[in-house]
């Protein structure tokens, strides 16, 4: 993931840049768009700024990338930078202004960091109507109003990230001695705050408690470790502090907390160290999902008009599951005519293809409206949004040799003779 501020976005976020970035060794396809509204703390966001947001989202779609979004007001924690955020009234007004753009461009949004409060939108250095170091329930109320407004503003199928696990636990009344119940498989991906609140860690492996990320110790760590099986996690380092910043420890932490994205540029003294010792190569292989297909067993001698089954064994060797919706399709392409037959598999849900596990599943269809003949069979994992469903930039490529069809975004399984 590359981090872009408002100024960077003005200069660099165009489709050609994004297409070129896809071809770099890191194969960049993800950006953090961090919008600073420093000049609009007591006014509406001007239309020109909103137009820029629109342009940037369109560039993502054309350039084959997605973004994590964050809105905030200040990028410094110094007292001279105060106020660190706008008042609650202005924040709510600004959320209403950006909400239509979030809904319109949900297809190219990975998730949205809750932001708005405090320096960098990290909810720590807050003022101007929000309590610094909150402790009582009442202290948190203005924060929860922003969180709930963001949950309404962000499309229902996209998650909203909070900076530390304690915020989600407090909001869900799991703080103190209350039992901690992270998201279960049954609760995952529902339209509830519990399922839609994810996390981000912007002081990853930067001290024994990631510089206050885990002030509550193991309970908070255990919560995030379990919760992130079904929610997004990512961020950046903020300090080099050994042994915590060491590469092997970082990989273990990314496994434990199911990391999907990392700011590759910050801090350079840490990410540079990982590049030098080879850690970054492992990270680039394993961030997010990485699906390896081991085996398929297909119905022998299938007949036109009859049922067909394909049994698959697939491993996810990445750090995380794909936490947004993902379609699954069996595609038959007639070798002679090129005619395509697509069979959507609505029961299959790759969001549950968790890392570290072998997944066995059967996809089935009826070969109706198909002529006898030779067909190429593909497994297609496209984005479900119609705007990018047929764009191979947004289809999942399996981590196997000789399977990927670059033109269509399909994964080749076998040649099948339909009788």
């Amino acid at each position: 993931m590359r981090y872009y501020t408002s100024a960077d976005l003005e200069a660099h976020a165009n489709a050609n840049t994004l297409k070129n970035n896809r071809e770099t060794p890191a194969k960049l396809t993800l950006y953090l768009h961090s919008y600073y509204l420093t000049d609009y703390m007591e006014s509406d966001i001007p239309q020109a700024f909103l137009n820029r947001l629109e342009t940037n989202m369109n560039a993502l779609r054309e350039g084959g990338a997605k973004a994590i979004l964050r809105f905030s007001y200040k990028s410094s924690m110094g007292t001279s930078a105060q106020p660190w955020n706008a008042t609650p009234e202005w924040i709510h007004r600004h959320i209403d202004q950006v909400a239509p753009y979030l809904k319109k461009h949900a297809d190219v949004i990975l998730c949205v960091q809750c932001g708005w409060l405090g320096s960098w939108g990290e909810w720590y250095y807050v003022d101007n109507g929000f309590k610094f170091n909150p402790s009582r329930d009442a202290d948190f109320e203005p924060r929860w109003e922003v969180l709930e407004h963001m949950l309404r503003a962000v499309p229902e199928d996209r998650q909203v990230a909070l900076r530390i696990p304690a915020y989600k636990m407090r909001y869900l009344k799991m703080h103190g001695d209350t039992a901690m119940t992270p998201l279960s498989a049954e609760e995952a991906y529902q339209n509830t705050p519990k399922a839609r609140i994810c996390g981000h860690n912007d002081c990853f492996v930067s001290s024994s408690n990631d510089v206050g990320t885990y002030n509550g110790g193991n309970k908070e760590r255990n919560f995030w470790a379990a919760d992130t099986k079904y929610t997004f996690m990512g961020g950046e380092t903020c300090e080099k502090k050994m042994p915590y910043s060491g590469g092997e420890y970082a990989i273990k932490e990314m496994e434990k907390y199911h990391w999907t994205y990392l700011n590759r540029d910050y801090r350079e003294e840490v990410t540079g160290m990982w590049r030098a010792d080879g850690t970054m190569d492992t990270i680039l292989h394993r961030l997010g999902y990485r699906f390896v297909l081991d085996k398929a067993i297909l119905t022998p001698a299938p007949k036109a008009g009859n049922s067909f089954e394909a049994y698959f064994q697939l491993r996810n060797v990445g750090f995380a599951a794909p936490n947004n919706k993902r379609a699954v399709e069996l595609v038959f392409v007639n070798a002679a005519s090129g005619r395509k037959h697509v069979f959507p598999q609505t029961a299959a849900d790759p969001r549950f293809w968790l890392p570290g596990e072998l997944h066995k599943f059967t996809l089935a269809c009826t070969l109706s409206d198909m002529e006898p003949g030779q067909y190429k069979l593909y497994l297609n994992l496209p984005d479900p949004y119609p705007s990018i469903h047929d764009n191979p930039y947004f289809s999942i490529r399996l981590a196997n040799k000789n399977m990927w069809d670059e033109a269509t975004g399909y994964n080749f399984i076998a040649t099948v003779n339909v009788e």
């Binding site: 997605k66 999902y289 390896v292 066995k360 981590a399 040799k401």
Partner: protein
């Protein structure tokens, strides 16, 4: 004697139930019959659409 029979019979039932549950739930359930295709893993860094 009757008590011993009941204990043994109960253990037998539990063992049968356990085996049935294991057969139903085990990830090593028999694979379907059909045309098998195997695939080779790639070590390439991939473009991720990040869903």
């Amino acid at each position: 004697m009757k008590r011993i029979f009941i204990i043994h019979y109960s253990l037998f039932i539990i063992a049968v139930a356990f085996c049935m549950a294991m057969t139903a739930c085990t990830p090593n359930a028999p694979e379907p019959q059909g045309t098998t295709v195997t695939f080779e893993e790639s070590d390439e860094i991939l473009h991720l659409c990040r869903s």
